[in-house]
Amino acid sequence: MTPVLEAVGLGKRFGRRWALSGVELSVPAGRVVGLVGPNGAGKSTLMQLACGLVAPTEGRIRVHGSEPGTRPEQLARVGYVAQDTPVYPDLTVAEHLRLGARLNPRWDAALADRRLERAELDPRQKAGRLSGGQRAQLALTVAAAKRPDLLILDEPAAALDPLARHAFLDHLMESVTELGATAVLSSHALPDVARVCDHLVVLARGRVQLCGDVEPLIAQHVRVTGRPADFDALPSEAVVLARTEQGDGRATALVRTVRPLPADGPWSVAAPDLEELVLAHLACAERPGGKGRSSARPEARR
């Protein structure tokens, strides 16, 4: 089965700065993908590449097996909501639905109406007068009602207060389930990602640091607590990603390992949570000599 989204050697340069480079990615269908990383990691760029808003500088990206954003049939299968949730300020909420209905062959008017009602949006209101959260709801409604197979949402909950955020993510998950779609959403908020995503992509410094289904990823990591000297006894294939010294002369480390650690080691082990795992990989990418590389690359590579 072809992956919904596939990137091979994907790179994008803006001027002299590489926003993304050497990205290898394969997202299977039916997942809810969380795309996380610090500011400037290339999350928005990756999403814009996936919906064809920008063209790659090198490598290639395929969505449903073909180049994104080129043909109407291709566009119909991908829904995208940009970070600033753009809507036409002069058009009313109802006119946005009309726009969607006229421009999309697979438009689901019933779904759109249902979502508007649930979000308590007045169809007669001008979109320019909506609050940030209402705008996000409207933009998501337009993207969802075209019944895409892939829904790409750039920081969808950023404009919402914590309570609205909770409800919004619930709605979002219902929409995704109802559509039977794959969703990719980027977020700063790791708890949000932990709550809704079952596939994870960690980006830092324009590169993919970690990707895969959440459960196997967690299974490959352990939190190890012990005396600093004990860590020397870890098996060679275990990689210490992040280590914090504790006050009592003991240290905690997040360790990536393919096989379970020997149970009889001089340490105690625990399963990490998703947030801890992401933070450890991001910290690892930031360290000199870590997996992240400088975004300015030598001339020879071009």
Binding site: Q48, C51, G52, L53, V54, A55, G69, T70, R71, P72, E73, L75, A76, V78, G79, Y80, A82, D84, P86, V87, Y88, P89, D90, L91, E95, R98, L99, G100, R102, L103, N104, P105, R106, A139, V142, A143, K146
Partner: protein, 330 residues
Amino acid sequence: MIWLTWRQFRTQALIGLAALLVLAGYLLLLGLDVHQAHRDTLAHCAARPDCSGALAAFADRYRLRADLLGYLLLVLPAVLGVFCGAPLLAREFEAGTHRLVWNQSVTRRRWLAVKLAVVGGSCTLATLLAALLLGWATGPVAAVQGARFEPVAFASHGPAPAVYAAFAAVLGATLGLHLRRAVPAMAATLAVFTVVQLAVPALVRPHYRAPERTSVQLTEPIVANLTKIGTYGDIGGLRVPGGPWVIDTSPILDRGGAPVGRTDWFQDCMDHSSPADLPRCLAGHGVHVDVTQQPADRYWTFQAVESALFALLTAVTAALAFRRLRTRAD
């Protein structure tokens, strides 16, 4: 897509339509008046040997209005380019809504094609209607003046203004696509369009066909119509019967072809004649000027060439917009 384009363009279109209706109503009334007065003048002097004085008086009566309307039509394409063309795409980028509309099931090429066609087409049609109405309304005045080939009149009559409007609208949209902000795009549109509108009549239009060189006898009525007679015999505003486009004139020459500007009799005419007597004083010496001109019967050829030239410019500008969309979209 057509619905969305129309919905976004609606306010401007309705304001423009209202203005066009007011202008059309005025032109209709003026035209009826002009044609009536023209018929009356012809009837009045039907029995007389010479009708030129009566016709000149008729043309004088409507000249100011005809000139002003001509200027209005001269600036109309620029106004449409600045207010309909330039914001057309720039506003999408300012509001970020290009990211919304480009992710509906419509390709960017189609999006651009529909926008250019609807807005460019509307501007073209509106200008064509205004130019044709103006041509009908002030036609008799222009015929008497014999000046329809001169730059301002040429640019405000016939099919040319409509093609200017198409070019201005597409130019504005393309600059909006490149600059991505409405106000700079409007300023750039005005600047570029003005330069083109000055450069074409001055540098390009005279060469659509090889101009003819001929000499024009300066008779009394011709001298009386000049807008300028310089101290040393250079002249301006020469209008020749039959209505050719006079591109360039020499200073006043005598029968032998020598400039008369520094002769005693010329200085005497200039210094000691009242404005009313000057034409007779000069014409009495049998003087002429050499002119470079395009004959009046080339008028429609020139309208066609000018329209084709601007249609080509419009197509090239539109191609630049499509190219930009392909190479650097967001």
